[in-house]
Symmetry: C2
Subunit: 349 residues, 2 copies
């Protein structure tokens, strides 16, 4: 009887031991499966995907000579052509063009003045030839004279109804699924993700949190001057037709330092006119840095432009052959949309 009891206890404790062992095995398996879950499922295996994962692992996992403390993990992303579609026109430019008729109605003298004359003509070929300066003039002329709240509400309203001419979907759906995965993956590893856009920060902030999970204070963009005044006794802030922060070209990294005060560890861009200095400056930092170039080479699922098509270097917003060559020389990571992305949009099967 005593022996039976002892044996029973031994069996019971052995049972608990086996159960514990199984539990530990299960847990470690789960952890391993978790660790092996692909953080970038919309990416094909290749040098771009590997470079991004390698960078994140090297900078966030101890022990590593390139470990970065959590409060210094910062990554900067261009928007147009890097996070979402920028063809045939920048979304914000479409917004402004849609407002030109109302503007000319209010100021009829503009009807015969360039660039408004071209806009009203509806001549797409002529429109595509407008210079950056002329685009700026259109943006400043349409986004002005109203209160800051009025502008914000109007952008919200426009985004809710406007559709892209090719996909017939809201512009906010034309974001690249693989890049959304990069944003999530980097944030899950303690990186703060910033948008650095040549467009108006006040335009992008309307949807950045909803679309990219990026809060307003992490959007750095071109900024118009804003003026404080009174409407009767009520204080108001109004949009002025004057550039306060020019976030194009070198301005993109100059202004990032002016409002944040540090060099990012990673930067993603696609344009030689607007992303080159940011990508160069990030790559020139000490330790491991990641500079990534998105190349538009997918004629079926998106567009082909830049070096893939051999467009002239002067074309705004596209990638020049010279910058492509520099990227290769400086060991930036190059993303081929065609080869590296399993799917382009969230709505793609």
């Amino acid at each position: 009887m005593k022996n039976q009891k002892r044996r029973g206890r031994r069996l019971a404790s052995r049972g608990i031991f086996v159960w514990l062992l199984a539990a530990v095995a299960c847990l470690s398996l789960n952890l391993r499966v978790l660790a092996q879950t692909d953080p970038l499922p919309s990416w094909n295996d290749g040098p771009a995907k590997q470079a991004i994962i390698k960078f994140v692992q090297a900078t966030t996992t101890q022990p590593s000579p390139n470990f970065i403390p959590a409060d210094q993990r910062v990554a900067e992303f261009d928007q147009d052509g890097t996070l979402w579609v920028e063809q045939p026109l920048y979304t914000q430019v479409v917004y402004c063009l849609d407002h030109v008729p109302a503007l000319v109605k209010a100021k009829p003298e503009l009807a015969t003045v360039e660039p408004f004359k071209t806009v009203l003509s509806g001549d797409r070929a002529a429109l595509a030839k407008l210079s950056t300066r002329q685009m700026f003039d259109i943006v400043l002329a349409t986004q002005t004279g109203m209160t800051v709240e009025h502008f914000r509400d109007d952008v919200k309203k426009w985004l809710a109804t406007a559709k892209h001419p090719r996909w017939h979907r809201p512009y906010t759906e034309l974001v690249y699924q693989p890049m959304l995965e990069v944003l999530s993956y980097m944030r899950a590893n303690g990186y703060k993700t910033f948008i650095a856009t040549g467009g108006s920060g006040s335009f992008v902030r309307v949807y950045s949190d909803q679309v990219y999970g990026i809060p307003p204070e992490q959007v750095v963009g071109t900024a118009q001057a804003i003026t404080y005044s009174y409407d009767g006794e009520t204080p108001i802030l109004s949009m002025e037709p004057r550039v306060l922060l020019n976030n194009l070209g070198a301005g993109k990294i100059e202004n990032f330092w002016a409002v944040y005060g540090d060099r990012p560890y990673a930067a993603f861009g696609n344009s030689s006119s607007d992303d080159q200095q940011m990508l160069e400056y990030v790559k020139a930092g000490s330790g491991t840095r990641l500079s990534v170039l998105v190349v538009h080479d997918d004629p079926i699922r998106e567009y082909v432009y830049g070096p893939a098509q051999g467009l002239p270097d002067t074309k705004v917003g596209t990638l020049s052959q010279a910058m492509y060559d520099e990227a290769k020389k400086q060991h930036w990571t190059i993303i081929s949309m065609k080869k590296d992305w399993k799917r382009v949009f969230t709505f793609d099967k």
Copy 2:
């Protein structure tokens, strides 16, 4: 025997019941104690403390007609004179003055030019009479020509050794303990806390996280222009003697909208020249808004200036009688450092 067993079981289950009851009572007591823990222990009970707590409760606890969704909870804080001591000179001005001798050594022609002549004279009375424009000239002349990293490192080094002439402590210890509690209390209730300073954002960002728990992207300040160039083949960013963002006066709220894009629900300031428009604009928003004015009326523990001393309205950085009267009229919350604060500094007993 059976009865005894049953009674035993009954007693045991009653024991468990009593134990559970005690545990629940304990837990609810703990929760109540937790809820009753004073979020602002360095504050005396009074209208200022009550107004801050009432505002936070009304905007963050459901049901409330003035509930604010978590992603819209934003509060803005002036720094000098609101979060830390600004007398006898702004800390950043002291930093710049300390750099004038080296500047004049490099550029001897400045020795006979104002305002540098006055600075070199060491005449404190004359120094105190320098205009804002002259202060700006000193800041721009000393904080220039170096790379952005060099400037940041130099500020860090200076802060580690410089001491306040009255307390003989590092400037970063001269922060107001009651205001640190407000920052923590608001953040614990989902508010994002921003610094809106007339000083250089790039100066404040060096210590804002460590001292206030405010990350760099939540510091909006005056910004100098920064220029991208190359040192040999290495890209560098250098400080220019030109103002990019002027965050004084109305600029404080204009620039906040330019880089954030929304109206804060709460704002704290102390100066008529630099905080008035921010406080007015915040208070003019819909729903419950909190505009708070810190009055320096404690001659023993800190300083007396502004309406408490009847200084002239034109004195920079102080509170004019006119603004004090406006604050009363518009039902802003007024903090008397003398009456409302149990202690001023963390190191106070």
